[in-house]
Symmetry: C2
Subunit: 208 residues, 2 copies
DNA sequence: GTCTATAAACTGATAGAC
DNA sequence: GTCTATCAGTTTATAGAC
């Protein structure tokens, strides 16, 4: 790992624990094992580090957008979901698993929870990419299930989207509130609960 | 309104918008219309203001604990819920409505969302009083509904508690992310959605 | 005498100039 | 790296209102 990556990781670690403002460049430099002036060889300012972390995460979302739209189109083209709606159980939790198999990403979520109150850019991102867009995706998803007769005809896709998505966000909030340093072990429990939730919700609305 | 109350309100307003650390005593004093040293006639320190806000909120919760336990016992004693399980629709949203009819309390929620990452005491409070205890309360509640045969025998009260509670918390997170200054108008929408959610969930699990 | 407001000064941290 | 200015929270002394 080169120095810039070390700065990235150390900064993310400290920021996600104590917030951006509470961490000084001196601390970051110390943890990395360099002098603080050396940071400027890699980043032009403290905020540039934050924005680099943020952009890394933003790129991830753009990649996810592709995956999501592809899967959604796929499910419209063939009838795999009709044959086996239980596959749905896994879609959400697998998307989440993909997002969080990197410990780094979970830390960035926490950082965004903390920092959105102080940074317009991060706040807008959180609103749009982490709340609005996922809700639209899941609304489309439930609309398709409804159209195909997998879930009940009186289902409300918009409500179901929020029913579906609010649960894992709540779990994340629980984790962020509980842990300073998020242990990998808590992820298993997270996935278990997310799957249980998906199973429950589909069972509630699917045509028997 | 006396000066101390003004300091309380102005501080809460500014803290809930920009966080505790970003607000200076000078700003608070200016907004109140006094000099910063005058604040010390009412509060021994800046942190004392934060803790006063926090204690006001803590007291509210202790009062709510009484109400909650009383209502829960009530519902065990008589069979009003069996006769009219739809009353359940309103229990949650009314509890929330009671909490948020004071604009002040919604601001404190936001402040706690922001500040819990920086303050051990607030973080513990959030975890215990705003996550753990409500979940236990709703778990007991669903256990009673199950026992009385109002909801299906294969229901999982612990899961249902989280299904129930995660939704309004998600709504709150949405509001806190969206608004700097939370408008009263958004409360109506909040209550509408919370009721729709309660209706949906009960409809999913109740014995037909 | 008590309560409240204010001016002035102190301390520590931080940022920028040199 | 040092010097300086600035701003934060705090403390003290004092003046005035009731």
């Amino acid at each position: 790992m080169n120095t810039k990556e070390k700065i990235f990781d150390v900064s993310l670690d400290l920021f996600s624990k104590r917030g951006y403002d509470s961490v000084s460049l001196r601390e970051i430099a110390e943890e990395v094992g360099i002098k603080k002036s050396s940071i400027y060889s890699h980043y032009s300012s403290k905020e540039a580090i934050l924005m680099d972390i943020f952009e890394y995460f933003t790129d991830l979302f753009e990649y996810d957008d592709l995956i999501n739209s592809k899967e959604l189109v796929l499910s419209e083209d063939n009838d795999v979901l009709i044959e086996n709606p239980e596959l749905f159980y896994h879609m959400g939790s697998e998307a989440i698993r993909g997002m969080f198999k990197e410990e780094r990403n979970l830390k960035i979520w926490k950082l965004i929870f903390i920092q959105m109150h102080y940074n317009e850019k991060i706040r807008n991102f959180f609103q749009k990419e982490m709340l609005l867009k996922p809700l639209i995706f899941w609304e489309n998803f439930f609309a398709i299930l409804k159209e195909k007769g997998i879930i009940r005809a009186d289902s409300n896709p918009q409500l179901l989207a929020k029913e579906y998505y609010s649960f894992p966000i709540f779990l994340l909030l629980e984790i962020c509130a509980k842990y300073d340093d998020i242990p990998e072990s808590c992820l298993d429990d997270f996935f278990k609960q997310a799957e249980e939730h998906a199973r429950f919700l589909l069972d509630c609305v699917k045509v028997k």
